[in-house]
């Protein structure tokens, strides 16, 4: 569904709740969150620890399902999808990168990047070119045969980005992608994601607790607090600044 400016929405959440039961008590990780993310937009989800930003990202990724509410990507409600459909959503619509990279250590970069293509049943003869293209995007074409343990943290995260890109998703979900990197490598990764957003027109949702990083990267910042959307606006917006 297009937003008020006429740009189609990549993601639309309406009154999304995610509750967990821990013993006798109920934890409201997300409590009535409504938001929209336009196609090709760069959005940062910020908030304190436990504010619900990672939970929201996992819901967008289709790794989890909302307790109630509607969460749509490309017009399809993730809340009502079957497990198989959610798996297909993870394979085709979204790409994820994590703070801990989560590359499989016994595989080479090439094999790590090929993994989503295997899961998506892409023909074998097509895979090599797709893997090479993804590794070239992140500048690691020359390290294809290396294992993750032989690379620096920055290189590992770039490899993880290549793995997220290889299925050509329309949405890139990044969960604290610079959390395990030094500032120089962190900036390099964010520049890379920015470039990919512009060159591939991918929607990017970045989860971070670093205020400076969110302000430098995102077109719009969404502030979560205690499972609710507390504010949203462009970087530098006084309301946003006040909440962070």
């Amino acid at each position: 569904m297009p937003d008020r400016n006429g740009t189609p929405n990549a993601i639309r959440a309406e009154n999304v709740c995610r509750y967990y039961t821990m013993g006798d008590s109920e934890v409201r990780a997300l409590d009535g969150v409504s938001l929209e993310v336009r196609e090709s937009e760069r959005v940062a989800l910020v908030g304190a620890s436990g504010s619900g930003k990672s939970t929201l990202l996992h819901l967008m990724a289709g790794l989890d399902r909302p307790t109630s509410g509607t969460l749509e990507t490309q017009g399809r409600n993730l809340a009502t999808m079957s497990p198989e459909e959610l798996a297909a959503h993870r394979r085709g619509t979204v790409g994820m990168i994590f703070q801990a990279f989560h590359l499989l250590p016994r595989m080479t970069l090439e094999e790590n990047v090929e993994l989503p293509l295997r899961l998506a049943e892409v023909p074998r003869e097509e895979r090599a070119a797709r893997v090479r293209e993804a590794l070239e995007h992140v500048g690691l074409a020359g390290r294809a045969a290396h294992r993750p343990g032989e690379l620096s943290g920055g290189e590992q995260q770039r490899a993880a980005i290549a793995r997220a890109l290889v299925n050509r998703p329309s949405i890139l979900l990044a969960d604290e992608p610079t959390g395990n990197l030094d500032s120089r490598n962190g900036e390099e990764i964010m520049r890379l994601i920015h470039t990919l957003n512009e060159s591939l027109h991918m929607t990017v949702v970045l989860v971070t607790h670093e205020r400076r990083l969110a302000a430098s990267f995102a077109e719009r910042i969404l502030v979560l607090s205690d499972g609710r959307l507390a504010a949203q606006g462009p970087p530098g917006d006084p309301t946003i600044e006040a909440l962070q």
């Binding site: 297909a88 993870r90 801990a100 499989l104 295997r118």
Partner: protein, 500 residues
């Protein structure tokens, strides 16, 4: 995920923990080897026994008699009256019809006569039987002196060694006693060497027998007998002047003569054990001749006397019994049924076969149960290995799910890993079981050689056991993979990726 990708990933995962997975696979191999070795032993013993019986012709042979014979053998039919209303003579027409039945490979008459045999001036009384060409496969001819008959009508004879010894025994030895023993000998056997027995080969015996010769009614009887025999007795022209019950007034008097004849036969072989020549014929026979020749002789047999006593004797010569061989013991029952429908009585050792098979099924079952215990233990090893693997690979499973793997993909991956271990273990196990079998065969044959006995295959690995062993290992492995695979598929990727 496609099957080849699953197998590739599973193989990679298994190689990663190579030592542990090799031990698990070795456990499966030992289990399968135990199972295969046990069942091979069962199959070998079964093969040994059934081959002996099959070669004896016991299990694929049916004795066929006219319905008026064999009274009391099938009481239910006699009670029902089927027997009385559906009789048919066992003549050439019947033999032709029986030969045309499906799966029948041989039909020959059972020929047995009690007669005199002369050798170099000595005459001994003994029992003579006809042998079919297929009898050459009989175990009794394995270690014979000389050879089997050169043709179905060759004028040749094979002697039982006891009879041969009696032929060679000096005058007034126990061999001259009359009548000669018909069953197993209980008296002393003349001390005759193998070389002396062999000296009989190529020499001739003279068979004295009574030929049954049909004769026209008494007024037209020929003045002189035919052939080179002498008419010893004009036996018993049996008469039956019509059937009062049916009102038949035709004079159907028939008669035949039993004419004394002689036939010279060359001794071509000497055997130590009695071959199976039919349902009743082989018992205690001491001289054997080709069944084709035996037929040509038209000898008067014990049944001839019975024919005389019948109310309606046949002018043509009927067979006292026919021996029918089928191509497969499993065809005995349907062939027997067909023969009964044709109006004959039948007899086979089918029931004995069934009992024997039942015994072997039970033996196989017990051997399989003992063999399976090791495989059950091995399957617990698979469960343990895969559960450990799930615990160690939680993060990998979470990553796979985050990248788009479904629960079913994760399950399949673990099933394939279990299946690969099962296949490898099964193949190795069959190989190991085969080796164990070879060792047992080798050891057994050393023992048999020392005991001066022929070599035997005690442990036999049939194709079905090779395929079955591997298949069973795969099935057990897949069953073992159910719990670990389900556990892996249940992992919550959010929790795993957050905390691993």
């Amino acid at each position: 995920m496609k099957a080849n990708d699953l197998v590739e990933l599973a193989g990679r995962n298994l190689r990663e923990s190579g030592f542990r997975n090799s031990l698990t696979t070795a456990g499966v191999a030992v289990g399968v080897a135990a199972l295969v070795a046990m069942l091979s032993l069962g199959a070998g013993l079964q093969g040994l026994v059934t081959e002996r019986f099959a070669r004896s012709g016991l299990f694929n042979t049916i004795g066929v008699f006219t319905a008026r014979d064999m009274r009391g053998m099938e009481r239910s039919e006699r009670r029902s009256g089927v027997l009385e209303s559906n009789t048919r003579p066992l003549d050439d027409g019947a033999r032709k019809d029986i030969s045309a039945l499906p799966h029948v490979i041989e039909v020959y008459p059972e020929v047995r006569l009690l007669t005199d045999v002369s050798f170099e001036g000595r005459t001994l009384f003994t029992s003579v039987s006809g042998l079919s060409p297929s009898a050459s496969q009989n175990e009794a001819f394995e270690k014979m002196h000389g050879r089997f008959f050169s043709g179905p009508e060759a004028e040749e004879a094979i002697l039982h060694a006891d009879f041969a010894r009696d032929l060679l025994a000096p005058a007034n030895s126990p061999g001259d006693s009359f009548p000669l023993p018909m069953g197993p000998r209980t008296g002393s056997t003349p001390d005759v060497t193998d070389a002396q027995l062999d000296s009989l080969l190529g020499r001739e015996i003279v068979l004295h027998y009574g030929e049954r010769e049909p004769t026209p009614p008494p007024t037209q009887a020929p003045a002189h007998p035919t052939g080179r025999g002498t008419r010893a007795q004009n036996a018993a022209a049996s008469t039956a002047r019509g059937d009062p019950a049916s009102g038949d007034s035709t004079d159907d008097t028939v008669s035949f003569s039993v004419v004394r004849r002689e036939r010279r036969l060359r001794i071509v072989g000497i055997i130590d054990t009695e071959p199976f020549a039919g349902i009743t014929a082989s018992a205690a026979s001491r001289v054997f001749l080709p069944v084709g020749l035996a037929e040509k002789l038209h000898p008067a047999q014990a049944s001839t006397l019975r024919d005389i006593m019948q109310a309606k004797p046949s002018a043509s010569e009927n067979y006292s019994a026919l021996v029918v061989r089928v191509d497969d013991p499993a065809r005995v029952q349907p062939t027997q049924d067909a023969l009964k429908r044709m109006g004959f009585r039948t007899f086979s050792l089918l029931d004995a076969t069934k009992s024997l098979r039942r015994v072997f099924v039970i033996v196989d079952l017990f051997l399989a149960i003992f063999g399976s215990v090791a495989l059950v233990v091995a399957s617990l090893g698979i469960v343990n290995t895969l559960v450990m693997s799930v615990l160690e690979r939680r993060r990998e499973i979470g990553v796979l799910k985050a990248l788009g793997a479904s629960d079913a993909d994760v399950k399949r991956l673990f099933f394939v890993e279990a299946g690969v271990m099962g296949t490898a273990g099964g193949a190795l196990g069959v190989l190991l079981g085969w080796l164990i079998g070879r060792v047992i065969n080798f050891g057994t044959n050393i023992y048999l050689t020392n005991q001066d006995l022929p070599h035997e295959t005690v442990v036999l690995l049939p194709l079905w056991l090779i395929a079955g062993g591997v298949a069973f290992a795969i099935v057990v492995s897949l069953l073992s993979g159910i719990y670990p695979a389900a556990r892996a598929a249940r992992l919550d990727p959010v929790q795993v990726l957050r905390y691993e």
